[in-house]
Protein backbone atom coordinates (compact mmCIF):
# COMPACT_ATOMS: atom_id res chain seq x y z
CA UNK A 1 0.00 0.00 0.00
CA UNK A 2 2.78 2.39 0.99
CA UNK A 3 4.68 1.61 -2.19
CA UNK A 4 1.60 2.23 -4.30
CA UNK A 5 1.21 5.64 -2.62
CA UNK A 6 4.85 6.42 -3.38
CA UNK A 7 4.26 5.61 -7.06
CA UNK A 8 1.07 7.74 -7.18
CA UNK A 9 2.86 10.72 -5.61
CA UNK A 10 5.67 10.43 -8.14
CA UNK A 11 3.32 10.12 -11.12
CA UNK A 12 1.20 13.13 -10.02
CA UNK A 13 4.37 15.16 -9.51
CA UNK A 14 5.85 14.37 -12.92
CA UNK A 15 2.52 14.89 -14.69
CA UNK A 16 1.85 18.30 -13.16
CA UNK A 17 5.40 19.47 -13.79
CA UNK A 18 5.15 18.36 -17.43
CA UNK A 19 2.10 20.64 -17.99
CA UNK A 20 4.22 23.60 -16.99
CA UNK A 21 7.30 22.49 -18.90
CA UNK A 22 5.24 21.99 -22.07
CA UNK A 23 3.23 25.23 -21.47
CA UNK A 24 -0.03 23.26 -21.85
CA UNK A 25 -2.09 26.00 -20.19
CA UNK A 26 -0.04 29.09 -20.60
CA UNK A 27 -0.62 32.80 -20.69
CA UNK A 28 -2.16 34.52 -23.73
CA UNK A 29 -0.09 36.58 -26.13
CA UNK A 30 1.81 39.48 -24.58
CA UNK A 31 1.03 42.91 -26.10
CA UNK A 32 2.74 45.18 -23.62
CA UNK A 33 6.20 46.75 -23.57
CA UNK A 34 6.56 45.74 -19.92
CA UNK A 35 5.18 42.28 -20.63
CA UNK A 36 8.46 40.50 -21.57
CA UNK A 37 10.08 41.43 -18.24
CA UNK A 38 7.03 40.18 -16.37
CA UNK A 39 6.93 36.98 -18.41
CA UNK A 40 10.65 36.49 -17.83
CA UNK A 41 10.13 36.97 -14.11
CA UNK A 42 7.23 34.56 -14.16
CA UNK A 43 9.39 31.97 -15.91
CA UNK A 44 12.06 32.40 -13.22
CA UNK A 45 9.50 32.08 -10.45
CA UNK A 46 8.01 29.03 -12.08
CA UNK A 47 11.44 27.44 -12.55
CA UNK A 48 12.57 28.16 -8.99
CA UNK A 49 9.39 27.08 -7.25
CA UNK A 50 8.97 24.26 -9.78
CA UNK A 51 12.39 22.78 -8.98
CA UNK A 52 11.69 22.98 -5.25
CA UNK A 53 8.29 21.38 -5.81
CA UNK A 54 9.81 18.63 -7.93
CA UNK A 55 12.62 17.94 -5.41
CA UNK A 56 10.29 18.02 -2.43
CA UNK A 57 7.69 15.73 -3.97
CA UNK A 58 10.22 13.20 -5.30
CA UNK A 59 11.90 13.13 -1.89
CA UNK A 60 8.50 12.54 -0.34
CA UNK A 61 7.92 9.65 -2.74
CA UNK A 62 11.34 8.20 -1.97
CA UNK A 63 10.82 8.34 1.78
CA UNK A 64 7.35 6.82 1.51
CA UNK A 65 8.86 4.03 -0.59
CA UNK A 66 11.69 3.47 1.93
CA UNK A 67 9.50 3.62 5.01
CA UNK A 68 7.27 0.87 3.67
CA UNK A 69 10.22 -1.44 2.98
CA UNK A 70 9.55 -5.00 4.27
CA UNK A 71 13.22 -5.43 5.20
CA UNK A 72 13.64 -3.94 8.73
CA UNK A 73 17.28 -3.15 8.01
CA UNK A 74 16.41 -0.84 5.11
CA UNK A 75 13.13 0.55 6.47
CA UNK A 76 13.26 4.21 7.52
CA UNK A 77 11.39 4.91 10.77
CA UNK A 78 12.31 8.53 11.41
CA UNK A 79 13.67 11.19 9.10
CA UNK A 80 17.48 10.97 9.01
CA UNK A 81 18.85 13.53 11.46
CA UNK A 82 15.47 14.19 13.07
CA UNK A 83 12.81 16.80 12.38
CA UNK A 84 14.66 19.94 13.52
CA UNK A 85 17.30 20.06 10.77
CA UNK A 86 14.57 19.34 8.22
CA UNK A 87 12.38 22.26 9.35
CA UNK A 88 15.42 24.55 9.57
CA UNK A 89 16.54 23.54 6.08
CA UNK A 90 13.04 24.11 4.67
CA UNK A 91 12.76 27.58 6.23
CA UNK A 92 16.18 28.61 4.94
CA UNK A 93 15.62 27.19 1.47
CA UNK A 94 12.13 28.67 1.03
CA UNK A 95 13.25 31.93 2.66
CA UNK A 96 16.15 32.29 0.23
CA UNK A 97 13.87 31.52 -2.68
CA UNK A 98 11.25 34.12 -1.72
CA UNK A 99 13.84 36.80 -0.98
CA UNK A 100 15.65 36.10 -4.24
CA UNK A 101 12.45 36.27 -6.27
CA UNK A 102 11.42 39.51 -4.56
CA UNK A 103 14.83 41.02 -5.18
CA UNK A 104 15.11 39.88 -8.79
CA UNK A 105 11.43 40.57 -9.55
CA UNK A 106 11.32 44.06 -8.04
CA UNK A 107 12.76 45.49 -11.25
CA UNK A 108 9.89 44.16 -13.36
CA UNK A 109 7.38 45.25 -10.73
CA UNK A 110 8.90 48.70 -10.44
CA UNK A 111 8.79 49.23 -14.22
CA UNK A 112 5.02 48.87 -14.01
CA UNK A 113 4.25 50.40 -10.63
CA UNK A 114 7.02 52.79 -9.59
CA UNK A 115 8.32 54.33 -12.80
CA UNK A 116 6.06 57.28 -13.60
CA UNK A 117 4.16 57.36 -16.88
CA UNK A 118 5.84 59.05 -19.84
CA UNK A 119 5.07 62.76 -20.01
CA UNK A 120 3.48 62.44 -23.45
CA UNK A 121 1.15 59.63 -22.36
CA UNK A 122 -2.41 59.61 -23.62
CA UNK A 123 -4.44 60.15 -20.48
CA UNK A 124 -7.71 58.23 -20.15
CA UNK A 125 -9.96 58.29 -17.11
CA UNK A 126 -11.63 55.04 -16.00
CA UNK A 127 -14.73 54.68 -13.88
CA UNK A 128 -15.71 51.25 -12.58
CA UNK A 129 -19.17 50.62 -11.28
CA UNK A 130 -21.47 47.67 -10.70
CA UNK A 131 -21.16 46.16 -13.34
CA UNK A 132 -19.43 48.00 -16.12
CA UNK A 133 -16.36 50.02 -16.99
CA UNK A 134 -16.55 53.49 -18.53
CA UNK A 135 -13.72 55.40 -20.18
CA UNK A 136 -13.31 59.15 -20.55
CA UNK A 137 -11.17 61.09 -23.02
CA UNK A 138 -10.42 64.77 -22.58
CA UNK A 139 -11.89 65.80 -25.95
CA UNK A 140 -10.63 68.51 -28.32
CA UNK A 141 -9.73 70.95 -25.51
CA UNK A 142 -7.35 68.41 -23.96
CA UNK A 143 -8.85 69.15 -20.54
CA UNK A 144 -10.86 66.83 -18.31
CA UNK A 145 -13.90 68.27 -16.61
CA UNK A 146 -14.07 67.99 -12.83
CA UNK A 147 -15.77 65.05 -11.16
CA UNK A 148 -18.84 65.58 -8.98
CA UNK A 149 -20.05 62.26 -7.58
CA UNK A 150 -23.39 63.86 -6.67
CA UNK A 151 -23.98 64.52 -10.38
CA UNK A 152 -23.60 60.87 -11.39
CA UNK A 153 -26.73 59.83 -13.27
CA UNK A 154 -26.54 56.61 -15.23
CA UNK A 155 -29.98 57.21 -16.80
CA UNK A 156 -28.72 60.21 -18.73
CA UNK A 157 -25.33 58.67 -19.44
CA UNK A 158 -23.46 60.77 -16.86
CA UNK A 159 -21.44 57.88 -15.46
CA UNK A 160 -18.57 60.07 -14.25
CA UNK A 161 -20.52 62.86 -12.57
CA UNK A 162 -19.63 65.68 -14.96
CA UNK A 163 -21.16 69.13 -14.60
CA UNK A 164 -21.20 70.53 -18.15
CA UNK A 165 -23.68 73.27 -17.16
CA UNK A 166 -21.06 74.99 -14.99
CA UNK A 167 -17.83 73.37 -16.16
CA UNK A 168 -16.77 74.22 -19.71
CA UNK A 169 -13.95 71.65 -19.72
CA UNK A 170 -16.47 68.85 -19.15
CA UNK A 171 -18.59 69.70 -22.19
CA UNK A 172 -16.40 68.00 -24.80
CA UNK A 173 -15.30 65.07 -22.65
CA UNK A 174 -15.84 61.82 -24.55
CA UNK A 175 -17.34 59.03 -22.43
CA UNK A 176 -17.53 55.52 -23.92
CA UNK A 177 -17.95 51.93 -22.81
CA UNK A 178 -14.85 50.53 -24.53
CA UNK A 179 -11.19 51.37 -24.08
CA UNK A 180 -9.89 52.40 -27.49
CA UNK A 181 -6.19 53.23 -27.73
CA UNK A 182 -3.52 53.79 -30.37
CA UNK A 183 -0.80 51.18 -30.69
CA UNK A 184 2.79 51.96 -29.57
CA UNK A 185 1.77 55.04 -27.63
CA UNK A 186 2.17 55.31 -23.84
CA UNK A 187 -1.21 55.22 -22.12
CA UNK A 188 -1.93 56.51 -18.65
CA UNK A 189 -5.15 55.38 -16.99
CA UNK A 190 -6.57 56.87 -13.82
CA UNK A 191 -8.73 54.29 -12.10
CA UNK A 192 -11.55 55.23 -9.77
CA UNK A 193 -14.64 53.43 -8.60
CA UNK A 194 -18.16 54.69 -8.12
CA UNK A 195 -19.19 52.10 -5.58
CA UNK A 196 -17.12 49.12 -4.42
CA UNK A 197 -13.76 47.51 -5.11
CA UNK A 198 -13.26 46.31 -8.69
CA UNK A 199 -10.25 45.27 -10.70
CA UNK A 200 -8.84 46.15 -14.10
CA UNK A 201 -7.35 43.02 -15.60
CA UNK A 202 -6.12 42.61 -19.15
CA UNK A 203 -4.12 39.36 -19.30
CA UNK A 204 -2.55 40.37 -22.62
CA UNK A 205 -1.20 43.59 -21.06
CA UNK A 206 0.03 41.61 -18.03
CA UNK A 207 -1.72 44.25 -15.91
CA UNK A 208 -4.02 43.64 -13.01
CA UNK A 209 -4.83 46.55 -10.75
CA UNK A 210 -7.60 47.00 -8.21
CA UNK A 211 -9.98 49.92 -8.13
CA UNK A 212 -10.38 51.26 -4.60
CA UNK A 213 -13.33 53.56 -3.93
CA UNK A 214 -12.11 56.99 -2.88
CA UNK A 215 -8.61 56.58 -4.34
CA UNK A 216 -7.35 57.52 -7.79
CA UNK A 217 -4.91 54.88 -8.97
CA UNK A 218 -2.64 55.47 -11.99
CA UNK A 219 -1.81 52.64 -14.36
CA UNK A 220 0.41 53.01 -17.41
CA UNK A 221 1.36 50.79 -20.29
CA UNK A 222 2.13 50.77 -23.99
CA UNK A 223 0.42 48.28 -26.27
CA UNK A 224 2.55 46.82 -29.04
CA UNK A 225 -0.11 45.01 -31.10
CA UNK A 226 -3.43 45.97 -32.58
CA UNK A 227 -6.49 43.87 -31.82
CA UNK A 228 -9.43 43.41 -29.52
CA UNK A 229 -8.87 42.13 -25.99
CA UNK A 230 -11.07 41.57 -22.98
CA UNK A 231 -10.94 43.74 -19.86
CA UNK A 232 -12.38 41.78 -16.95
CA UNK A 233 -13.13 42.59 -13.35
CA UNK A 234 -11.23 40.21 -11.09
CA UNK A 235 -12.42 41.51 -7.75
CA UNK A 236 -15.70 39.95 -6.58
CA UNK A 237 -17.90 43.03 -6.60
CA UNK A 238 -21.47 41.75 -6.32
CA UNK A 239 -24.28 39.98 -8.10
CA UNK A 240 -23.24 40.89 -11.64
CA UNK A 241 -19.48 40.47 -11.14
CA UNK A 242 -19.36 37.54 -13.58
CA UNK A 243 -20.73 39.91 -16.20
CA UNK A 244 -18.44 42.86 -15.55
CA UNK A 245 -16.21 43.34 -18.54
CA UNK A 246 -15.36 45.68 -21.38
CA UNK A 247 -13.18 45.53 -24.45
CA UNK A 248 -9.79 46.99 -25.14
CA UNK A 249 -9.34 47.92 -28.79
CA UNK A 250 -5.82 48.69 -29.87
CA UNK A 251 -5.81 50.53 -33.20
CA UNK A 252 -3.32 52.12 -35.54
CA UNK A 253 -2.77 55.79 -34.81
CA UNK A 254 -4.81 56.78 -37.89
CA UNK A 255 -7.74 54.52 -37.00
CA UNK A 256 -7.67 55.81 -33.47
CA UNK A 257 -7.76 59.45 -34.56
CA UNK A 258 -10.66 58.69 -36.87
CA UNK A 259 -12.53 56.86 -34.12
CA UNK A 260 -11.98 59.74 -31.71
CA UNK A 261 -13.28 62.26 -34.26
CA UNK A 262 -16.42 60.20 -34.65
CA UNK A 263 -16.95 60.13 -30.90
CA UNK A 264 -16.39 63.85 -30.51
CA UNK A 265 -19.18 64.48 -32.95
CA UNK A 266 -21.65 62.82 -30.60
Amino acid sequence: MGRLFAVVVTVITLLSVSFFVMHTWWMPVDISTTGPAIDHQLEETMTGSGLLFLGGQLLLGLFVWQSSDKNPARKIKIFPGGANPLVAAAIILVGIEILTLTFVGSKAWAAVNLVPAAADSLHIDVQAEQFAFYFRYAGPDGQFGGLHPDKIDDGSGNYFGLDPANDVAARDDVVVGSLVIPVNRPILLTLHSKDVGHSFYVPELRIQQDFVPGIEIPVHFTATQTGKFEIVCTQLCGLGHYNMKAYLQVMSEADYEQWLKGQEGQ
Partner: protein
Protein backbone atom coordinates in the same frame (compact mmCIF):
# COMPACT_ATOMS: atom_id res chain seq x y z
CA UNK B 1 -67.80 101.18 -36.22
CA UNK B 2 -67.18 98.06 -38.23
CA UNK B 3 -65.01 96.67 -35.40
CA UNK B 4 -67.85 97.08 -32.93
CA UNK B 5 -70.22 95.31 -35.29
CA UNK B 6 -67.92 92.30 -35.62
CA UNK B 7 -67.33 92.17 -31.90
CA UNK B 8 -71.07 92.17 -31.26
CA UNK B 9 -71.57 89.48 -33.88
CA UNK B 10 -68.84 87.32 -32.36
CA UNK B 11 -70.31 87.71 -28.91
CA UNK B 12 -73.76 86.68 -30.16
CA UNK B 13 -72.38 83.61 -31.89
CA UNK B 14 -70.38 82.65 -28.82
CA UNK B 15 -73.35 83.05 -26.50
CA UNK B 16 -75.53 81.20 -28.91
CA UNK B 17 -73.22 78.23 -29.08
CA UNK B 18 -72.79 78.29 -25.30
CA UNK B 19 -76.56 78.20 -24.92
CA UNK B 20 -76.75 75.31 -27.34
CA UNK B 21 -74.21 73.41 -25.25
CA UNK B 22 -76.35 73.90 -22.17
CA UNK B 23 -79.53 73.15 -24.01
CA UNK B 24 -78.44 69.71 -25.24
CA UNK B 25 -75.75 68.28 -22.93
CA UNK B 26 -73.42 65.93 -24.83
CA UNK B 27 -73.13 62.30 -23.69
CA UNK B 28 -70.73 61.87 -20.80
CA UNK B 29 -67.20 61.01 -21.81
CA UNK B 30 -67.30 62.17 -25.39
CA UNK B 31 -64.94 65.06 -24.75
CA UNK B 32 -61.19 64.97 -24.99
CA UNK B 33 -58.11 67.06 -24.55
CA UNK B 34 -55.55 66.90 -27.31
CA UNK B 35 -52.41 68.84 -27.88
CA UNK B 36 -48.72 68.81 -28.48
CA UNK B 37 -45.73 69.01 -26.21
CA UNK B 38 -42.75 70.91 -27.54
CA UNK B 39 -39.63 72.61 -26.26
CA UNK B 40 -37.86 75.89 -26.81
CA UNK B 41 -34.10 76.23 -26.53
CA UNK B 42 -31.53 73.50 -27.14
CA UNK B 43 -32.04 70.16 -25.46
CA UNK B 44 -29.12 68.02 -24.27
CA UNK B 45 -27.77 65.55 -26.80
CA UNK B 46 -28.77 61.97 -26.24
CA UNK B 47 -25.73 59.72 -25.90
CA UNK B 48 -25.21 56.44 -27.75
CA UNK B 49 -25.12 53.40 -25.45
CA UNK B 50 -22.23 50.93 -25.77
CA UNK B 51 -23.58 47.45 -24.98
CA UNK B 52 -20.58 45.54 -26.34
CA UNK B 53 -20.10 43.79 -23.02
CA UNK B 54 -23.53 42.18 -23.50
CA UNK B 55 -23.36 40.73 -27.05
CA UNK B 56 -26.81 39.06 -26.87
CA UNK B 57 -28.31 42.53 -26.37
CA UNK B 58 -25.97 44.47 -28.64
CA UNK B 59 -26.87 42.34 -31.66
CA UNK B 60 -30.56 43.27 -31.25
CA UNK B 61 -29.81 46.86 -32.19
CA UNK B 62 -28.69 47.52 -35.75
CA UNK B 63 -27.57 50.99 -34.68
CA UNK B 64 -26.75 51.69 -31.04
CA UNK B 65 -29.68 52.98 -29.04
CA UNK B 66 -29.27 56.24 -27.16
CA UNK B 67 -30.22 57.56 -23.76
CA UNK B 68 -33.89 58.65 -23.72
CA UNK B 69 -34.24 61.13 -20.88
CA UNK B 70 -34.93 63.91 -23.41
CA UNK B 71 -36.43 62.18 -26.46
CA UNK B 72 -37.20 64.69 -29.21
CA UNK B 73 -38.84 64.53 -32.61
CA UNK B 74 -38.88 66.74 -35.70
CA UNK B 75 -40.41 70.16 -35.04
CA UNK B 76 -39.09 70.44 -31.47
CA UNK B 77 -41.52 67.85 -30.15
CA UNK B 78 -40.97 65.94 -26.93
CA UNK B 79 -41.65 62.24 -26.63
CA UNK B 80 -42.41 60.23 -23.47
CA UNK B 81 -44.22 63.13 -21.77
CA UNK B 82 -46.99 61.89 -19.47
CA UNK B 83 -50.06 64.15 -19.81
CA UNK B 84 -52.81 63.45 -17.30
CA UNK B 85 -55.78 64.95 -15.50
CA UNK B 86 -54.52 66.06 -12.11
CA UNK B 87 -57.76 67.70 -10.96
CA UNK B 88 -61.32 67.21 -12.19
CA UNK B 89 -62.84 63.93 -13.30
CA UNK B 90 -60.22 61.31 -12.70
CA UNK B 91 -61.94 58.47 -14.54
CA UNK B 92 -61.76 54.94 -13.28
CA UNK B 93 -59.53 54.25 -10.34
CA UNK B 94 -59.48 50.48 -10.67
CA UNK B 95 -58.28 48.63 -13.72
CA UNK B 96 -59.51 45.25 -14.88
CA UNK B 97 -56.38 44.52 -16.91
CA UNK B 98 -52.76 44.58 -15.94
CA UNK B 99 -49.93 46.34 -17.75
CA UNK B 100 -46.78 44.83 -19.19
CA UNK B 101 -43.19 46.06 -18.97
CA UNK B 102 -40.41 44.42 -20.94
CA UNK B 103 -36.67 44.14 -20.60
CA UNK B 104 -35.61 43.55 -24.18
CA UNK B 105 -32.27 44.17 -25.82
CA UNK B 106 -31.06 45.51 -22.46
CA UNK B 107 -33.57 48.32 -22.71
CA UNK B 108 -36.82 49.02 -20.89
CA UNK B 109 -39.86 48.91 -23.18
CA UNK B 110 -41.72 51.18 -23.09
CA UNK B 111 -39.35 53.81 -21.76
CA UNK B 112 -42.19 55.28 -19.68
CA UNK B 113 -45.09 53.07 -18.61
CA UNK B 114 -48.24 54.55 -17.09
CA UNK B 115 -50.44 52.62 -14.71
CA UNK B 116 -52.99 53.15 -11.99
CA UNK B 117 -52.10 52.83 -8.35
CA UNK B 118 -53.05 49.27 -7.46
CA UNK B 119 -53.02 48.11 -11.08
CA UNK B 120 -51.34 44.77 -11.74
CA UNK B 121 -47.90 45.15 -13.33
CA UNK B 122 -46.06 42.31 -15.03
CA UNK B 123 -42.35 42.64 -15.74
CA UNK B 124 -40.81 40.32 -18.33
CA UNK B 125 -37.21 39.47 -19.08
CA UNK B 126 -37.11 38.73 -22.82
CA UNK B 127 -33.30 38.66 -22.92
CA UNK B 128 -30.73 35.88 -22.86
CA UNK B 129 -29.04 37.55 -19.92
CA UNK B 130 -29.92 38.22 -16.29
CA UNK B 131 -31.50 41.51 -15.29
CA UNK B 132 -31.96 42.99 -11.84
CA UNK B 133 -34.76 45.50 -12.01
CA UNK B 134 -34.58 48.19 -9.36
CA UNK B 135 -37.42 50.74 -9.21
CA UNK B 136 -36.11 53.66 -7.13
CA UNK B 137 -39.40 54.27 -5.32
CA UNK B 138 -39.48 56.90 -2.59
CA UNK B 139 -43.20 57.13 -1.75
CA UNK B 140 -43.84 53.44 -2.37
CA UNK B 141 -41.65 50.65 -1.04
CA UNK B 142 -38.38 50.35 -2.95
CA UNK B 143 -37.21 46.89 -4.04
CA UNK B 144 -34.98 45.14 -6.56
CA UNK B 145 -35.39 41.69 -8.05
CA UNK B 146 -33.09 39.44 -10.02
CA UNK B 147 -34.50 37.83 -13.14
CA UNK B 148 -32.33 35.27 -14.92
CA UNK B 149 -33.19 34.50 -18.56
CA UNK B 150 -36.33 32.39 -18.86
CA UNK B 151 -37.68 33.43 -15.46
CA UNK B 152 -41.43 33.91 -15.09
CA UNK B 153 -42.59 37.53 -15.11
CA UNK B 154 -42.48 39.51 -11.88
CA UNK B 155 -46.05 40.17 -10.78
CA UNK B 156 -46.38 43.32 -8.74
CA UNK B 157 -48.23 46.63 -8.25
CA UNK B 158 -47.71 50.06 -6.75
CA UNK B 159 -50.03 51.30 -4.00
CA UNK B 160 -49.49 55.04 -4.22
CA UNK B 161 -49.18 57.49 -7.10
CA UNK B 162 -45.56 58.26 -7.87
CA UNK B 163 -43.14 58.76 -10.76
CA UNK B 164 -40.63 55.99 -10.15
CA UNK B 165 -37.28 55.90 -11.91
CA UNK B 166 -36.29 52.35 -12.87
CA UNK B 167 -32.74 51.08 -13.22
CA UNK B 168 -31.06 47.73 -13.70
CA UNK B 169 -28.49 46.76 -11.09
CA UNK B 170 -26.55 44.77 -13.69
CA UNK B 171 -26.67 47.05 -16.75
CA UNK B 172 -26.07 50.61 -15.59
CA UNK B 173 -27.31 52.16 -18.85
CA UNK B 174 -30.83 50.70 -18.52
CA UNK B 175 -33.23 53.39 -17.44
CA UNK B 176 -36.98 53.92 -17.53
CA UNK B 177 -39.90 55.24 -15.56
CA UNK B 178 -43.11 53.97 -14.01
CA UNK B 179 -45.76 56.70 -13.97
CA UNK B 180 -48.15 55.51 -11.25
CA UNK B 181 -51.24 57.71 -11.28
CA UNK B 182 -54.60 57.84 -9.56
CA UNK B 183 -56.33 58.71 -12.83
CA UNK B 184 -56.99 56.61 -15.89
CA UNK B 185 -57.26 59.82 -17.93
CA UNK B 186 -53.72 59.86 -19.23
CA UNK B 187 -51.86 59.95 -22.51
CA UNK B 188 -48.18 59.65 -23.37
CA UNK B 189 -46.74 61.75 -26.16
CA UNK B 190 -45.45 59.94 -29.21
CA UNK B 191 -42.47 60.99 -31.31
CA UNK B 192 -44.65 63.73 -32.84
CA UNK B 193 -45.24 65.17 -29.36
CA UNK B 194 -49.01 64.74 -29.51
CA UNK B 195 -51.27 63.37 -26.84
CA UNK B 196 -54.99 62.64 -26.66
CA UNK B 197 -56.84 62.21 -23.38
CA UNK B 198 -60.16 60.66 -24.26
CA UNK B 199 -63.42 59.90 -22.44
CA UNK B 200 -63.86 63.20 -20.64
CA UNK B 201 -67.22 64.63 -19.58
CA UNK B 202 -67.69 68.33 -20.16
CA UNK B 203 -66.22 70.36 -17.36
CA UNK B 204 -63.15 72.03 -15.99
CA UNK B 205 -59.92 70.15 -15.66
CA UNK B 206 -56.40 70.70 -14.56
CA UNK B 207 -54.02 69.01 -16.95
CA UNK B 208 -50.45 68.18 -15.97
CA UNK B 209 -47.61 67.32 -18.31
CA UNK B 210 -44.62 65.52 -16.76
CA UNK B 211 -41.24 65.13 -18.42
CA UNK B 212 -38.55 63.22 -16.54
CA UNK B 213 -35.84 65.83 -17.05
CA UNK B 214 -37.91 69.03 -17.00
CA UNK B 215 -40.53 68.25 -14.35
CA UNK B 216 -44.18 69.24 -14.59
CA UNK B 217 -46.29 71.96 -16.17
CA UNK B 218 -49.99 72.39 -15.52
CA UNK B 219 -52.83 74.30 -17.11
CA UNK B 220 -56.59 74.55 -16.68
CA UNK B 221 -58.71 73.37 -19.59
CA UNK B 222 -62.45 73.53 -20.10
CA UNK B 223 -63.84 70.63 -22.04
CA UNK B 224 -67.03 70.83 -24.02
CA UNK B 225 -68.51 68.27 -26.35
CA UNK B 226 -65.53 67.81 -28.64
CA UNK B 227 -61.80 68.06 -28.41
CA UNK B 228 -60.33 70.81 -26.30
CA UNK B 229 -56.75 71.79 -26.97
CA UNK B 230 -53.87 72.20 -24.56
CA UNK B 231 -50.30 72.63 -25.66
CA UNK B 232 -47.28 72.49 -23.39
CA UNK B 233 -43.92 74.09 -24.00
CA UNK B 234 -40.90 73.13 -21.90
CA UNK B 235 -37.70 75.12 -21.77
CA UNK B 236 -34.74 72.99 -22.78
CA UNK B 237 -31.13 73.60 -21.80
CA UNK B 238 -28.16 71.95 -23.50
CA UNK B 239 -26.64 70.70 -20.21
Amino acid sequence: MRMKFFAALALTVAMGSALMVFATPPPAGSGSITGKVTYTGTPMKMKPIDMSKEPSCAKQHATPITTENVATGPGNTLQWVVVYISAGDEGTTTASQGVRYDQKGCQYLPHVLTMLAGQQLQIYNDDQTSHNIHPLAKVNQEWNKSQPPGSPPIDTKWDKPEFIAVKCNIHPWMHGYFAVLKTSHVSITGEDGTFDIKGLSPGKYTVTAWQEQYGTKTQDVTVGAGAATANFVFTATPY
